[in-house]
Symmetry: C2
Subunit: 359 residues, 2 copies
């Protein structure tokens, strides 16, 4: 069969030109006689690749030299622990905004390390809406404020980010590079790569350099940001394949107009699906209108049986991965940067047909 | 140019059939319409892959159900921290055998966590020989004993492993699956994948299940082995690409006779190089004869200028990566499982010619 429409929440669809290039270069990289996976991370070729990966990141998100760009193992889940280990020093506390499943996991890890102030919890609204950022009750003197820019499972996002006195730390795993961003507003931005950036198993970490100094000596060297900064990401042998694919993906982002163009395209793509969801009571969109994600669109149908039918028939029509997360059920379309417009057309047409037959 | 002979210490040479298969399957895995890198780690296809990867591991090393097989992020460097975090509980101490650069790094991380007994240190011998395992002064009641089975930088190895009362923990990054092993002799075996197993950024961890229970509640969830055991390696999104390539590499190991055949071939390959090194005083092999690695062969020449000349002329002849580690200098040939016999022939011939011209 041909290429399917892949709505997977992550690992997720990658740009086809990236996959084709990775395939063509896999056995022999640019005629050097070996694969990217076989070469030293300290050799000339990989040195060029990792520097280009960093330069692309700085270019796409306009990041100043006050920030380090690191590629660290373990995705966002490892950062849930590394952030408090480095910043939540004894005697201090950190503010966390609880917007859903991923924020909850970040909170759980931080509570192992130190005092956590959950300054807002979306539980009463079933995590379908975000906070009013103007009225968030930040703690005076907090070590940092942690938010989750986009909740992959719930399908909500921060449309704007708060300006905070304490460093703002954001898990942007599921919407990094989907929209323009003022990085100077943040202390740390981290993102598991497997949605908008590349393969799974790694995180991109954008870190204001001065924050790395806070880390206590009781933390293992490997989990200190400052260990990884002098030769960025080369303290240990990094995931060279992930850095390489990330470099290709960020090349693709640049060639396609950068984050401004990504956002325009993402809003248009998401709007076409939300338009269907809003057109009739047959569809029951989950996220609050003011907090709707443009990456992960979640909705329910009247019954679970009908949802099951939707998933099965969609899969048969080449629309894969529309099942909601197992913790919440329902339906979800993850439509990251690399998800193509014609996949949206196919989904929207399928939905209209499905409604006609089952409405 | 064609495929070069790649003596890189890691990331290192992979079997050509593995690379070719990974290339052929990269864009569209077995006609499913997407790449391995794009699919859910909880989907049917990846579930099959990770289960086959685990089954291959059990099969190749004859591992019983008393052990978990985990694929964890960060390579061996992260395990240097995770081992003591999980096992070196308050009030206990751990024995470490200091055989070189990598053992030293493991010790450094353990000392952050608790009390370390360095029960043997090869410093006086410049880390070119291993201990007499029969006379190692193990500490009564130690939480565990840590060894490094093969020192990639020095080029020495344990030819045999001690039988210990405390659980034996071994970093086998650079010789895992190069020889048969009695896994039941060990509490934990861990190995960064980028030498004998696959791409970089991940570690294989073989863990006696009962040991995971020791971990104190003060350790972050993500760094507890037990967090990753119930659904093996799926607590977070694992490095799916690395698991996939690992599966292909272990298929290749099995197709080529398993670890018994690997060892036979590795000994023969190494012997051909050591024979040249031992044949004249022109060559100055580093490791003690009784501790010689069959994976990483290290030697010096009379002067550093001559070493530089050797590296340059070898590279021009298609023999790449023969420079010793930057911390020790000299020359090193890393000849892992996937390194081909004809590459040994090429090296040996080059060495004989080089000696003739410069001896």
């Amino acid at each position: 069969m041909g290429r399917i429409y892949n709505f997977s929440s992550g690992p997720a669809v990658l740009p086809l030109p990236v996959l084709e290039k990775a395939r063509d270069q896999l056995v022999d990289f640019e005629g050097c006689g070996m694969s990217i996976m076989e070469m030293s991370h300290r050799g000339k070729i990989f040195d060029r690749i990792i520097k280009e990966a960093e330069a692309n990141t700085r270019d796409i998100l306009s990041i100043s030299d006050d920030y380090s760009i690191l590629f660290l193992p373990g995705g966002a889940s490892q950062q849930f622990a590394m952030v408090p280990l480095n910043l939540l020093t004894p005697g201090s506390s950190a503010d966390y905004v609880h917007t859903g499943s991923w924020a909850g996991k970040a909170i759980k890890e931080a509570q192992i390390v130190g005092k956590v102030n959950v300054i807002w919890d979306g539980k009463d609204g079933n995590y379908m809406a975000g906070p009013d950022i103007a009225s968030l009750p930040f703690t005076k003197g907090a070590a940092y404020v942690h938010i989750t820019s986009n909740e992959t499972i719930g399908g909500m996002r921060f449309t704007e980010f708060p300006r905070t006195e304490a460093p703002l730390v954001a898990d942007m795993s599921s919407d990094i590079m989907s929209r323009p961003l003022d990085v100077s507003q943040f202390g740390i931005i981290y993102a598991g790569m497997q949605k908008n950036l590349g393969p799974s198993g790694n995180a991109l970490v954008i870190l204001r350099k001065d924050l790395a100094e806070r880390c206590p000596d009781t933390v293992n060297y490997f989990f200190r940001y400052k260990t990884h900064m002098p030769e960025p990401s080369l303290y240990n042998t990094p995931n060279t394949w992930a850095v390489y694919v990330y470099k290709l993906v960020t090349d693709w982002v640049k060639e396609n107009g950068g984050v401004a163009a990504m956002e325009k395209r993402n809003i248009a793509k998401a709007q076409r699906v939300y338009d269907v969801l809003d057109a009739s009571a047959f569809w029951k969109p989950c996220a609050d209108k003011n907090s709707r994600s443009i990456m992960n669109i979640t909705w329910r149908l009247e019954t679970e049986d009908l949802e099951k039918k939707f998933i099965q028939e969609a899969a048969a029509a080449g629309l894969d991965g529309l099942k909601g997360h197992r913790s919440v059920g329902g339906l979800r379309a993850s439509i990251y940067n690399a998800f193509p417009e014609d996949g949206i057309t196919a989904l929207v047409e399928f939905m209209r047909e499905f409604e006609k037959k089952n409405g």
